[in-house]
């Protein structure tokens, strides 16, 4: 009985519609497909939720309003005043990651956020955006962010590189956190799913574990979207208010 478990097979990128511009491969892949689905679902949810806005919200309006308020509250609490301008960005980011994560939990679907290139692109957008915001708002003063106050001059030679390093590490931690969580969770699900295949009635045990794991993954999916958004808010707060 050959148990063939390929837990990483689910992350394969497949070209659905091959497209090439010169030597550039811009094929429409399954990853792109699920990004499209996420965007369409988010748009549909928001349009449905705001189409017939009533004082007493209906179901769709409730969901849309809850999400709006959740993110608005997050931006207000964590990024401080003056951060409301960036609410649309954080809201979009949060919903995109949330929907990608949740869509990935559907069997036979594809988890966009389990690819580091996707999460890194998102994190890099946040990083570059936040840096630009800081420079635009504070000019050269922005560099003060890297100089700890109340430190002996000599120590600055050590501390400024550390501060710089810890600033430039942000996009990596941001992207790796999301990617690693999704990758690990889905691999684990696939492994236990693989155990269940071809072991007869014993399949009950791996399946029971899988049920628990799906619950855990649901939590992780929500939590990671939340963490990504909240860290974006904190970085924005740094750039907006310096210290």
């Amino acid at each position: 009985m050959a148990l063939e478990i390929q837990p990483l097979h689910q992350f394969t990128i497949e070209r659905l519609i091959p497209l090439h511009i010169g030597r550039l491969d811009i094929s429409y892949t399954n990853s792109a497909l699920f990004m499209t689905i996420a965007v369409v679902l988010i748009t549909a949810l928001m349009l449905l939720g705001t189409r017939r806005a009533a004082l007493v919200p209906g179901r769709w309006q409730s969901v849309a309003e809850m999400m709006y308020e959740f993110v608005a509250d997050m931006v207000d609490t964590n990024a401080g005043h003056g951060a409301r301008d960036f609410f649309p960005f954080v809201f979009t980011l949060f919903l995109f990651i949330l929907f990608s994560n949740l869509l990935g939990l559907i069997p036979y679907s594809f988890t966009v956020t389990s690819h580091i290139i996707v999460t890194f692109a998102l994190a890099a957008a946040v990083f570059i955006g936040v840096t630009i915001v800081g420079i635009v708002k504070h000019g050269w003063h922005f560099l003060r962010l890297f100089v700890p106050e109340g430190v002996p001059f000599i120590l600055l030679f050590l501390l400024v590189p550390i501060e710089l390093l810890s600033y430039f590490i942000r996009p990596f931690t941001l992207s790796i956190r999301l990617f690693a969580n999704m990758l690990a969770g889905h691999t684990m699900l696939a492994i236990f799913g693989g155990f269940a295949a071809g072991v007869g009635f014993l399949a009950f045990f791996p399946l029971a574990i899988n049920i628990a794991l799906v619950g855990l993954e649901l939590l992780v999916a929500l939590l990671q979207a939340y963490v990504f958004a909240i860290l974006t808010c904190l970085y924005l707060s740094d750039a907006l208010h310096l210290h």
């Binding site: 207000d76 609490t77 964590n78 401080g80 005043h81 003060r144 962010l145 890297f146 100089v147 700890p148 106050e149 109340g150 050590l158 590189p161 550390i162 501060e163 390093l165 810890s166 600033y167 430039f168 590490i169 990596f172 931690t173 790796i176 956190r177 690693a180 969580n181 939590l223 990671q224 939340y226 963490v227 909240i230 860290l231 904190l234 707060s237 740094d238 907006l240 208010h241 310096l242 210290h243």
Partner: protein, 144 residues
């Protein structure tokens, strides 16, 4: 959720005990009041078990997820950067060594920051030496 548990357990024991035989059926409302008082007293007696509000909980969970990866990634990225510098400048192995230690420093710093105060940005500054922008923000934070 956590708060409700002691109240329920007290209620259960109250039902299980044969109170009825002592002095006829007492007023059920009075008994309920007694039990509530006991439950409240018990709850107040252990303030440590008091759950924070959901925002605090969310922040705590987020914090936990943040610190773990932060430390490791800081070191890995620093080593990678050192390796790249060495490759470009031909200074092997010094760039990697120096940046490894800097990476450890940066990792510890970010973990410390995440634990000591989640809003402490890059470059820690004592709270009383803040410029006007941050002051307004803090006041605003306090009322939230």
């Amino acid at each position: 959720m956590v708060r409700a548990v002691p109240a329920i357990s007290v209620g259960m024991s109250g039902i299980a005990l044969p109170d009825m035989s002592e002095s006829g059926p007492p007023d059920p409302l009075a008994r309920l009041g007694e039990r509530l008082d006991r439950a409240r007293a018990r709850r107040d007696g252990q303030p440590a078990a008091e759950p924070g509000n959901s925002a605090d909980l969310q922040r705590g969970v987020g914090l936990g997820f943040r610190t773990g990866i932060e430390f490791v990634v800081a070191i890995i990225v620093a080593i990678g950067l050192g390796w790249a510098i060495d490759r470009a400048a031909g200074t092997r192995p010094w760039g990697m060594i120096v940046l490894f230690f800097l990476g450890v420093g940066a990792g510890m710093l970010s973990v410390y920051r995440a634990v000591a105060g989640i809003r402490m940005p890059v470059g820690s500054r004592p709270l009383d030496k803040l410029d006007s922008g941050r002051k307004a923000k803090d006041a605003w934070d306090d009322e939230a």
